[in-house]
Amino acid sequence: METLKQDLENRIALYALISRLMIKEVDEDFLKTIESDEAIYALFPNYQNWSKRNDKSMKELIEAYYNVDFANLFLMHLVPYESFYVRDDQMIDSGKGNPVIELYDALDFRVELEKARVVSGDHIGVELEFMYMLCKAQLKALEAGDKEGICELFQIQKGFMRDHLLEWAPMFLINAKKESRTPLYHEGSELTLEFLLSDFEYINAQLDSFCADVA
């Protein structure tokens, strides 16, 4: 159980990290948090060694580089919405009929679009934060000793990843990695892609082992 708890805490931290990275521009607090955690910092090797960090202040880097990259990747040149990738007409579906929104609704989640500054709940950052929310719920279930709840949440996570995130996010993330112009977003995109793939394997493994006895 301790291992599972540690795994869940790690997953929560990672989903929080990558969803935050993709939902809004970074700020100094966020960057300091990354840099202060050795394990997370290790996920950004080129960021660590980026020469511009020696020449410029964090504020300058944010204004002149990170924000520019963010705008390119998430607002201007790429389209970070699932519906864009999965619909034949490549329209962003912000309506109620969007299956991702339907899923959120079914689980009583509502996206505060204004706060997220996105036009639809199937934004990459929102979907990642949804995984974060599910992991948090799992941790609560774990603390309450609710194994069924934990496993049900693994099932939901598996379904969400299979039917949604993994259907499109890899394509977006490969594009983002290619189009990025800073180590932060380059490695952030790669990290997200790799983590999603490994997490999907992890979920399946848990369902096969830990949840094997749960109907």
Binding site: L14, L17, D89, R110, A116, D199
Partner: protein, 1118 residues
């Protein structure tokens, strides 16, 4: 990211261990953005799905029948969760989502020449509830899906129309220079349209009443980008004046000169969508220039079908960046490259051993016979070394052999050297392969850039069309090059039938030397860029007086810029200011202008006229092989009228509607001119002007909009027929249909009209609306059908026999494409009467009129000298017209540095963001003009030796706001786009120095008094506007000795700015600039000379105002 980064993948190797053996100490909650409301209890006030948040397709548009009332959810629906959660707003549900009721009023974008369709979405729901007209609001501008050219699409400038409409610094009412103040002092008083019309009308009346020759040249209507087809021409025409000045000679007149020589047409008309090769000189068409939004769409269509895109440009524009081939060419040498293509087409064979020349087209449709018979011209060509001897016979085969010889010196090696393509000469081969592979499906739009940047720029079109003609791509066929007048509809000035006169005003019989000076008989358009120079040049006037031109005006009684800002956009701006300040030279001036401008500052009146959705105009452009037109509507007026409002005076309805709806005292030209003419210029009709503007229905008043456009659109048979069917009970069906649709496609798929049979009924030929008895028609030895010219005497062509058939032919004197321009030879330029370009340094001296003023001969890199490429557009700006748009200003900030190649920058130690001093030097007179300080950006995207800085940035103002006595608010001046400057000028030297960024000026009055709700985001202004410099003022006028256009590019010298220099500084020796204009005029032109009897070839139409033979006639003595 870099490759090196990709190689550093140690964490990837360990990706499977994100969880194992790791403990992230950061709590997720400190990182997560937290965008979910979890397990919220949101009332799901689900209603029936009346509104679709996501239309089924991107091309969704309300159907036309719903345009008078279309309901749509408010824009913040999505962020508030939609009606599914909030329901529709109502008294019982105040927190619900607002539903707008829109009336879609079609109109046309006025921010560039393309004339893309727009729809103004007027929110009428609130007005219906409150009955307060001030609740009418244009919520957005969208495309017009009915528009055949733009197909519902727009660029940023179209959508930005709304920001211009509700500009916080919009001029709200007519302004008049304060009595007792000098021009440029910035003291203004509020006036009324009626007072302005009375004062101006009287001045015009008194001038016209004199009735002598000079008085007919003393009122000048100076039109910026017209965005309408022909109304402006009618204004001076109806007064019997030769008084029209266009902006064209700073715009595109160079391109037109070469086109006129080939086809006697204004410009070409491409069929992008069906081309196999898009052949672009510069980024024009694809990303910034003429018609780009429409062209870019058609180019994309073509590329989707496999077409190649080639861009020849010293600068890597957006188009070049996505082209199949980018060829950086030294600016102004493009003609050499075109003639190289011609050389290869003539001298090489295809893989089957067949000629590459499309003889079927070239032999039939090019006037080679005329040249082969002209032994004098052939001898001249031999004497110039173009060829060794006159051909033995006059056969087509000998003609082709002659061409092979003439163009054989334009080798790859020559072009590589001339165009400075060292290191990438192989691109010429790639280009040639693409050119040949495309067959006759090559489309181009040779315009701006090379054709207006340079002395001899006109030879770019002259030589550029040559390889296209050789391949048959000039036939106006599918995917090829057609002609402007085949596709454009101009009826905006043709509402004559609605007036008392009932007919067009007669031809004008004077010639205005201020617009058409005798040094430039072949100038394609008015020499407007040297208008102030000519006005102030007493020596020039005296010289021509002595040669017999007794009636050159010494001054203008009234100068009327119309949406024009020549002070800023023309070269040598201080000379303009100097002239405008001279009340003895320009007695009265008023600008019909929606915004403040640098020019307005020096006028006597500023009369606010409407933007795209606030006026009426008919317009049409050659953007595809079809004849479409578009119609601007004043959205608020149309909405008011459709909802039952009626004006007090139907001839002033647009003004009344705008005042009623709270937009301001904003008028439009059509109503303004009709009213001032009828009531003030010629109130009693004694001048013979009134009848052209008074209503036939009610002669006591001016013609109304429905009357005028009913008559104007009646000229179009298909439109007329459809309108009658759709509006059977209407008195003005043409007008009403166009009011409701905003666009019309009169004829589609217009290809090869030159091959259409010449109409013949019985024994009469019918051409251009006239009948000619067969007995009057004579056929010359080349097959051209000629008739007597009743206006100018002599003969004029009406058709041509080709391959045994009598067809309409091209619009030239021969009825064919004119490889040899005989009239051009007769008008003093025989050595340039065929496409030609100097082949060596000696010829560059002899043929100086064809050599760009920034040729590399003149540039010494060791002295830090460069060619400055100034002619390219920023796609989200439009010269002087977008400074009132907060959105366009925001996205264009810092986008106009001086581009310098990285190699040059490194050599000079210049880094990104450095301020540099750019000093302009003239290569004809050797004089320096002064300098501007600008920001350098090293880049690989401009070729070494060539700097690039678009001349579209660097706006300025001298006051942030003006006080209007008796008016409670200050009027802001260009707050969104022009910083505050200090100006000095002493008659010789002018300077401008930035004083304050615009953000500071704007923040001081961010709580604007007008359109406050719309502008509540003004405190978001982050830009200071100080990244550009007014380089146009430093630039002297370079009148091309033949085409007359200003040759924009400049030879410059650069150095790092000094400690006291700041970006935006300019220093101008405008005394020198005056001498530069004189040097270009006197050293390079071939003016009218003793014995000359005509001012200009009569077949070479003077644009705008039709003239009599008397006007064309001259007797140069002395």
């Amino acid at each position: 990211m870099t490759k090196s980064m990709n190689q550093d993948n140690h964490f990837i190797e360990s990706r499977r261990s994100f969880l194992k053996g790791t403990a992230y100490s950061v709590a997720g909650v400190t990182l997560a953005a937290g965008v979910f409301e979890t397990i919220v209890e949101t009332p799901a006030e689900a209603e029936e799905k009346t509104f679709t948040a996501t239309p089924k397709s991107l091309s969704f548009y309300p159907p036309l029948e719903q345009w008078d009332s279309f309901k749509e959810l408010d824009g913040d629906d999505w962020k508030r969760g939609g009606v599914g959660r909030k329901g529709v707003a109502s008294e019982n549900n105040p927190d619900g989502i607002k539903v707008n009721e829109f009336m879609l009023v079609p109109t046309v974008c006025s921010n560039c020449e393309a004339q893309c369709g727009l729809t103004a979405w007027v929110e009428i729901g609130e007005y219906k509830r409150t009955k307060n007209p001030r609740d009418l609001f244009v919520k957005k501008y969208m495309g017009n899906p009915l528009h055949a050219g733009s197909r519902g699409r727009n660029c940023a400038k179209g959508y930005a129309t709304q920001t211009q409409m509700y500009d916080p610094d919009r001029i709200p009412f007519p302004l008049k220079r304060a009595p007792g103040s000098k021009r440029g002092e910035g003291k203004w008083v509020r006036t009324t349209w009626d007072e302005a019309m009375a004062t101006i009308g009287k001045k015009m009346h008194d001038t016209l009443k004199r009735g002598d020759e000079v008085s007919k040249k003393m009122i000048m209507y100076h039109v910026g980008r017209p965005n309408e087809n022909g109304f402006g021409h009618r204004v001076p025409h109806s007064m019997g004046l030769d008084g029209y000045d266009s902006h064209t000679n700073i715009c595109s007149a160079g391109a037109r000169e070469g086109t006129i020589q080939w086809v006697n047409d204004d410009r070409n008309s491409p069929d992008w969508a069906n081309a196999k090769l898009i052949f672009l000189q510069s980024s024009h068409a694809a990303d910034a220039g003429h018609y780009f939004q429409q062209s870019a769409g058609y180019i994309a269509d073509a590329r989707k079908k496999g077409a190649k895109l080639v861009v020849m440009d010293p600068r890597m524009s957006n188009s070049a960046g996505m082209a199949d081939l980018w060829i950086p060419v030294w600016p102004g040498t493009e003609a050499a490259l075109y003639l190289h293509l011609a050389n290869r087409i003539l001298n090489e064979k295809d893989i089957h051993g067949k000629d590459l020349v499309n003889h079927a087209f070239f032999k039939n449709w090019v006037n080679w016979e005329q040249l082969m018979k002209d032994k004098e011209q052939l001898a001249l060509m031999v004497s110039k070394g173009y060829m060794k001897q006159v051909p033995q016979d006059e056969s087509y085969e000998s003609f082709i052999e002659m061409l092979k010889e003439i163009y054989s010196p334009y080798t790859k090696e020559f072009v590589v050297k001339e165009c400075k393509m060292e290191g990438y000469g192989h691109k010429l081969d790639e280009l040639f392969d693409m050119f040949i592979d495309a067959g006759d499906r090559i489309s181009t739009f040779l315009w701006r850039a090379g054709t207006i940047g340079h002395r001899g720029g006109w030879m770019n079109t002259r030589s550029g069309f040559f390889p296209l003609a050789l391949r048959g791509a000039m036939a106006g066929n599918i995917g090829g090059v057609g002609m402007h007048h085949w596709h454009v509809i101009s009826v905006n000035g043709k509402g004559d039938a609605a007036t008392v006169a009932g007919e067009r005003p007669p031809r004008v019989d004077v010639w205005n030397e201020i617009a058409w000076p005798p040094e430039y008989p072949l100038s394609t358009y008015e020499m407007s860029h040297i208008m102030p120079h000519l006005l102030l040049d007493d020596e020039w006037r005296a010289k021509w007086k002595a040669k017999g031109l007794k009636h050159i005006p010494e001054k203008l009684a009234v100068w009327i810029p119309r949406m024009y800002n020549p002070v800023w956009i023309n070269p040598d701006g201080f000379r303009w200011i100097e002239a405008l300040k001279r009340e003895d030279k320009i007695e009265l001036s008023f600008n019909l202008s929606p915004t403040w401008s640098e020019t307005n500052w020096f006028c006597d009146y500023v009369l606010p006229v409407g933007l795209a959705g606030e006026r009426h105009d008919q317009s049409s452009e050659p953007t595809k092989p079809a004849r479409w037109l578009s119609f601007k509507n004043p959205a608020l007026r149309v909405a008011l009228e459709k909802l039952g409002w009626k004006p007090k005076d139907p001839a002033r309805a647009t003004l009344e509607a705008h005042m009623t709806a709270g937009l301001g005292e904003i008028w439009e030209e059509v109503e303004f001119w009709a009213n001032i003419m009828v009531h003030y210029v010629d109130p009693d009709g004694s001048l013979g002007v009134r009848k052209f503007w008074a209503s036939k229905e009610d002669p006591s008043r001016a013609v109304t909009i429905p009357e005028w456009y009913q008559a104007a659109f009646d000229k179009l048979p298909n439109l007329r027929k459809t309108a009658k069917l759709k509006y059977p009970n209407s008195k003005y069906p043409n007008y009403e249909m166009m009011r409701d649709m905003g666009t019309w496609l009169e004829e589609d798929h217009v290809y090869r009209p030159q091959e259409r049979p010449l109409r013949k009924e019985g024994n009469k030929y019918i051409a251009h609306g006239h009948e000619y008895d067969e007995s009057e028609v004579e056929k010359d030895e080349y097959g051209t059908l000629l008739v007597h010219d009743h206006v100018f005497g002599g003969k004029k062509p009406i058709g041509v026999e080709v391959d045994g058939k009598i067809v309409q032919g091209f619009h030239t004197l021969s009825g064919k494409l004119e490889f040899y321009s005989k009239w051009f030879a007769e008008w003093k330029w025989p050595e340039f009467a065929i496409p030609i370009y100097p082949r060596n340094a000696k010829e560059r001296k002899e043929m100086v009129q064809l050599v760009t003023q920034v040729h590399h001969d003149f540039i010494d890199p060791s002295k830090n000298e460069f060619a400055l490429n100034t002619v390219f557009r920023l796609p989200y700006n439009i010269h002087t017209r977008s400074v009132n748009s907060k959105h366009l200003m925001e996205i264009s900030q810092n986008h106009n540095p001086v581009w310098i190649s990285t190699a040059d920058a490194k050599r000079l130690g210049i880094k990104r963001g450095d301020a540099i001093k750019v000093t302009i030097e003239d290569t004809v007179s050797g004089l320096e003009s002064g300098y501007f300080i600008a920001m350098a950006v090293p880049t690989e995207a401009t070729m070494p030796g060539v700097l690039a800085c678009s001349h579209h940035a660097g706006r300025w103002k001298l006051k942030n706001a003006v006080e209007i006595p008796g008016f409670e608010h200050k009027l802001g001046v260009l707050g969104l786009g022009a910083p505050l400057y200090d100006m000095t000028m002493d008659g010789k030297i002018g300077t401008l120095k930035p004083k304050q960024g615009l953000n500071e000026g704007m923040q001081a009055r961010k709580d604007t008094w007008q359109f406050k709700e719309y502008n509540k985001d003004l405190d978001n202004i982050w830009w200071d506007g100080l990244s550009g410099a007014w380089q146009n003022a430093v630039a002297p006028s370079h009148p091309d000795p033949i085409a007359g256009n200003h040759a924009w590019h400049q030879k410059v010298r650069i150095e790092k700015a000094g400690p006291d220099d700041v970006i935006g500084d300019i220093y101008v020796n405008y005394e020198n600039n005056f001498k530069v204009y004189q040097a270009w005029r006197d050293k390079l032109t071939r003016p009218l000379a003793k014995g000359d009897k005509l001012r200009r070839p009569v077949h070479m139409k003077r644009p705008a105002v039709p003239l009599t033979l008397k006007a064309y006639s001259v007797d140069i003595t002395g």
